[in-house]
């Protein structure tokens, strides 16, 4: 019992010490950016060390928490432009759109590690690839959930329940793209489970990952441009996000929010990766 009582105090002082240590240590900004992008996009195709070293660093985790706090506080309290039909629900931009950004970045990382696996044949890369895809799926589902809430206040037919108007709304080109992305990665998981040999599984799923991703991306760029859409952007504009559309005040929150959610995704992935690296320790030796 004594030990249990003491523990919270220990943790607290440890956290305080650690934070102050990090805050004191000034990280050069260009290096910060470099590591950030290397971590996310897995651009370190040549050197394997960076991603693994970054994984154990704590500055970006603290940054993630700080930015998330900022997103929640500023996102809910700061002034937003009031547009017809959207009004206050526009605050969902900080959450809904960021989920899709994060999902796409995580899937991209998954493909980069799949390519890397085919080049190096190291099982570590396969583990990275799988975990990035798994967390990407989670963010995709969250994107759907936040989108469904938003839709039920803006697009849904007020005379119908939002459940009933779903079949009409789901024809949205961007929802089609998102659904395809999720289906592809669900299929990826099914394919993984259907092969028992570890090396073979890694190789075949890496091939499928690359093939599907290469066909998915043209879809996401093309389909919203040729189908009619309720989404911002749509037929004659940039379907992803028109950067001229978004208000300056909102930009102040939106960009940090994207970084925050992406960092959170990478953080969760890195924990999962570390867990499975420990699990597969004997195999990897």
């Amino acid at each position: 019992m004594e030990g249990l009582k003491c523990e919270p105090l220990k943790v607290n002082s440890y956290v305080l010490l650690h934070t102050s240590y990090i805050l004191l240590r000034i990280y050069p900004f260009p290096l910060f950016l470099l590591h950030f992008f290397k971590m996310i996009a897995g651009l370190s195709l040549v050197s394997n060390g960076c991603a693994q070293k970054c994984m154990h660093k704590s500055w970006w985790k603290i940054l993630c928490v700080v930015l998330l706090f900022y997103t929640f506080i500023a996102g809910f309290l700061m002034d937003v432009p009031r547009l017809p039909a959207l009004s206050e629900t526009i605050r969902n931009l900080y959450f809904h759109v960021c989920m899709w950004f994060c999902m796409m970045i995580l899937f991209t990382a998954s493909v980069v590690y799949a390519i890397r696996y085919l080049r190096t044949n190291k099982l570590v890369d396969d583990i990275y690839s799988r975990q990035f895809a798994a967390v990407g799926i989670v963010f995709g589902v969250l994107g759907y959930a936040t989108g469904a809430i938003w839709m039920s206040y803006t697009w849904a037919d007020p005379n119908n329940s939002s459940f009933q108007s779903f079949s009409a709304v789901a024809r949205e080109p961007k929802l089609i793209g998102a659904a395809i992305a999720l289906l592809i990665y669900f299929a990826y998981m099914v394919l993984r489970d259907s092969i028992s040999d570890i090396d073979k599984r890694a190789r075949i799923t890496a091939v499928y990952n690359i093939f599907a991703y290469a066909l998915l991306f043209p879809t996401i760029w093309i389909i919203p441009r040729i189908l009619p859409s309720l989404h911002p952007g749509g037929q004659n504009g940039n379907p992803a996000l028109d950067f001229k559309d978004i208000d300056n005040r909102m930009r102040m929150v939106f960009y940090p929010a994207v970084i925050a959610w992406t960092l959170l995704g990478v953080w969760i992935t890195s924990l999962k990766i570390r867990l499975s690296l420990l699990k597969e320790k004997r195999l990897l030796q």
Partner: protein, 228 residues
């Protein structure tokens, strides 16, 4: 001198592709049950549709037609890799390169699927009527669509065969990937069904570009599937 060598290699691989293609054709001619099996599949499915609905509207016709094309292509293409036993694959491994092998398969399946598409179009028009206004353009679209389907599913058949799975996993892997191309094809054929609408050439070119990309990806990625 090097370019002469290159030329000789190109010729050699062309010959390999041709030989492998001829072998697939010969197998098809000698074991006709699979060809007639697919043919019967087409006829039976369309007959079921004929029983289920009479004279569908053009958009229903369109949707049904492309969904049936999808299932035909899975059935026609699936066996191309699944029929090769492990020992025979080893034999091919020793006599031909992976690129020649996959290109021969793509070629054979494309031709097979083009034939099947034409047959199913004929049967569809016979039983369910043909709502098409621009008949020639629609036949071209059907051929293009059949080709696209066969390319994507040939590569997925290679993956499914390596995973030692049946055709079911091919459907799971393939449906999400093929949705965009099917969407484009359905839009194009809707344009072919309406009197005044022009068929957008840009979309047709887009489909051709997607097909080219599938071939490229297959050539790049197949060597990794090939070695065991």
């Amino acid at each position: 001198m090097p370019h002469l060598l290159q030329r000789r290699n190109d010729l050699k691989s062309l010959r390999h592709i041709f030989t492998l293609f001829k072998k697939d054709l010969l197998l098809e001619i000698r074991q006709q049950y699979s060809f007639y099996g697919v043919l019967l599949y087409i006829a039976a499915t369309i007959f079921v549709l004929y029983m289920a609905l009479e004279s569908p509207e053009s958009n229903v016709w369109n949707g049904l037609f492309w969904v049936i094309q999808l299932f035909i292509s899975i059935n026609a293409v699936a066996k191309s890799f699944l029929q090769e036993s492990r020992g025979r694959m080893l034999y091919f491994y020793s006599i031909a390169g992976p690129r020649d092998f996959v290109l021969a398969k793509l070629l054979f399946n494309s031709l097979l699927m083009l034939l099947m598409s034409l047959l199913s179009l004929a049967l569809f028009s016979l039983f369910l009527g043909n709502p098409g206004v621009k008949a020639a353009a629609f036949v071209g679209l059907v051929l293009l669509g059949g080709w696209s389907l066969s390319l994507v599913f040939t590569f997925l058949a290679a993956i499914a065969a390596k995973a030692q799975q049946n055709a079911a996993i091919m459907a799971i892997l393939g449906f999400p990937i093929i949705i965009p191309q099917l969407l484009l094809l359905m839009r194009l054929s809707n344009a072919a069904f309406t009197e005044n609408a022009n068929i957008p050439i840009a979309t047709v070119l887009l489909l051709v570009a997607l097909d080219a990309m599938v071939i490229l990806l297959a050539v790049i990625l197949f060597p990794f599937l090939w070695k065991d």
